[in-house]
Symmetry: C2
Subunit: 348 residues, 2 copies
Amino acid sequence: MTTIRQLAEHLGLSPATVSRALNGFPEVGVATRQRVLEGAERLHYRPNMHAKRLATGKSGLVGMIFRASSERGVDPHVMDFLSALSLAFADSEIDLLVHIAPDAQQMEHHERIASRGQVDGMILSAPEPDDPRIELLARRNIPFVVHGRGTDAPDYAYYDIDNEGAFAAATRLLIQFGHKRIALLNGPQPMGYARQRERGYRAVMDEHGLPVPPRFVANGEMHEESGYRAAATMLADRARPTAFLCSSTLQALGIMRAAGEAGLKVGEDLSIISHDDVLPHLLAENFAPPLTVTRQPIRDAGPILAAMMMARLAGTPVRELQRTDKVDLIVRGSTGPAPKWGGEAWSR
Amino acid sequence: MTTIRQLAEHLGLSPATVSRALNGFPEVGVATRQRVLEGAERLHYRPNMHAKRLATGKSGLVGMIFRASSERGVDPHVMDFLSALSLAFADSEIDLLVHIAPDAQQMEHHERIASRGQVDGMILSAPEPDDPRIELLARRNIPFVVHGRGTDAPDYAYYDIDNEGAFAAATRLLIQFGHKRIALLNGPQPMGYARQRERGYRAVMDEHGLPVPPRFVANGEMHEESGYRAAATMLADRARPTAFLCSSTLQALGIMRAAGEAGLKVGEDLSIISHDDVLPHLLAENFAPPLTVTRQPIRDAGPILAAMMMARLAGTPVRELQRTDKVDLIVRGSTGPAPKWGGEAWSR
DNA sequence: TTGTAAGCGTTATCAG
DNA sequence: CTGATAACGCTTACAA
């Protein structure tokens, strides 16, 4: 390993000049810089990160702590996000420090990373309204950006999608198709996005004077089995829903299984609209029938949040780093007119 | 931020003694150590990682670079592995540095991490026979452990499952059920595990004198659509297979879709056995019908490889860090006796 | 058992 | 434009 001092000696320069040349400082002569660059190349000089970091106080690391439920582990959507994020940082100098922590140990892990001071900033996702992780980072003065929002207009840097608008649009489509008994299979209760989605759904139901009985709204994790369980229960009832809104294509898969067992044909006897983060290994258009979805690939959030993080580190103020994107509604075969027998609205 | 010097002053000791006390050196007096520990607590002392690392040359970071295909991104199974790995490192001092890189840029990323010297070791997965990544790490003398094997008896530390035995057992079961036309939907061609699986399958087919026409073996990525495509093609032929072996439950989902479109009933007209890494959000037992699988949760590899990595860093020799686990064959509803019409072996 | 002092490889300050 | 020199915060011989 050649050090900056060796390189300097080799060139007949001081370490200081070499450092300046290498780091693009303006005051260094153009000929000198050229010489230094060539020398560095020739001697295979690689700056020692640890020394650099000790001297500058910057670590070149951005931390991200994912949530894991104890039974099901990490939501498969997040891998897609992580992947896009990593790719987006690829040609910067930044590397990603990743933790996966059960909900119960989230704070512990944040404490650890924060107090060690080993990251320049943090990215966090799936915030709740009064998220203690956010409070911690703010208190410790660690720059952070958030994937999602805990509340409607938070005072931190975030990127989110318009969950409320998406679910309002989906509900509206179903109502236009004549559906009156529409059930919602939502994500976990405390999550910001789950609240936003429920709000969009309820607003449109209200608007059309359609009742929302409590048993038509379920909260659960976003996997096949949770979709199956909730749908099976609801479909067993005589006043069953004629349409489902759900939060993930995996849940939709479970709804389809329940529908199959109940002898219902999806797209005719039963309509389904799912939110689609786009899991590349299980595409909504390949469902049988193809799924109608509110679509916003979660991977698109990667480059956006990476850019936000870098801007934040460069000092861009928070209010310039808040963004919400619209969501597309894509109609496919899993939705259709309400069946005749279900034409009546559910009543207490 | 309190430094070790401040803490030392506060206690009337030298930084050296404080350092020794904190790092558990034996020579320090028991009373002194107690005092130091309390003082550190009181002043909220946290050692500066960068300084520590500059002094010791260790980074406390283990790197992992995942492969991503350009169209489908990262295999969803790996998130589960990453998650287990991170959990396993949680109460060590080690943190995980994660990259996701397209196959085409794997070497670039390895170069980058290796030359910066910012990790103490690397974990890598899905090796191929003469994997250039492994060659690079070996040449640079960076300790590493591997998830999977590129060859049967590699000279590096690895953890793998008995893919060959698993697929041999699965093939045997199908043959016992009377199947003669058995197709294999494998993972990507170059991967070690894909080769191992094909070998297990072919060995048992040979053993029973059953031919394996080229069109009965497909290699592809492990997602729903690849399973669908391959199965649809094979099922369209008049001498179609009566049973499928596949590499992932997502592929099995695709096979089921193709079977449905061909009017075949899975478990009766067509048998399916899949390898099951256990995706927690899509369980094989919840398929319709439930899927017969060779089962080995990929998450189990997390703690094993974490322990191996730490052992490797502590100097345990490579030959003591090589392990292969058996795989369970779990029979469920997707397998059954070969249909009568398919009783004849395929012939050229 | 504890202290002194010399690194570890950079960057940053201040002269020149 | 370039060069000394002092940090940066910790570890580790070596001395006591």
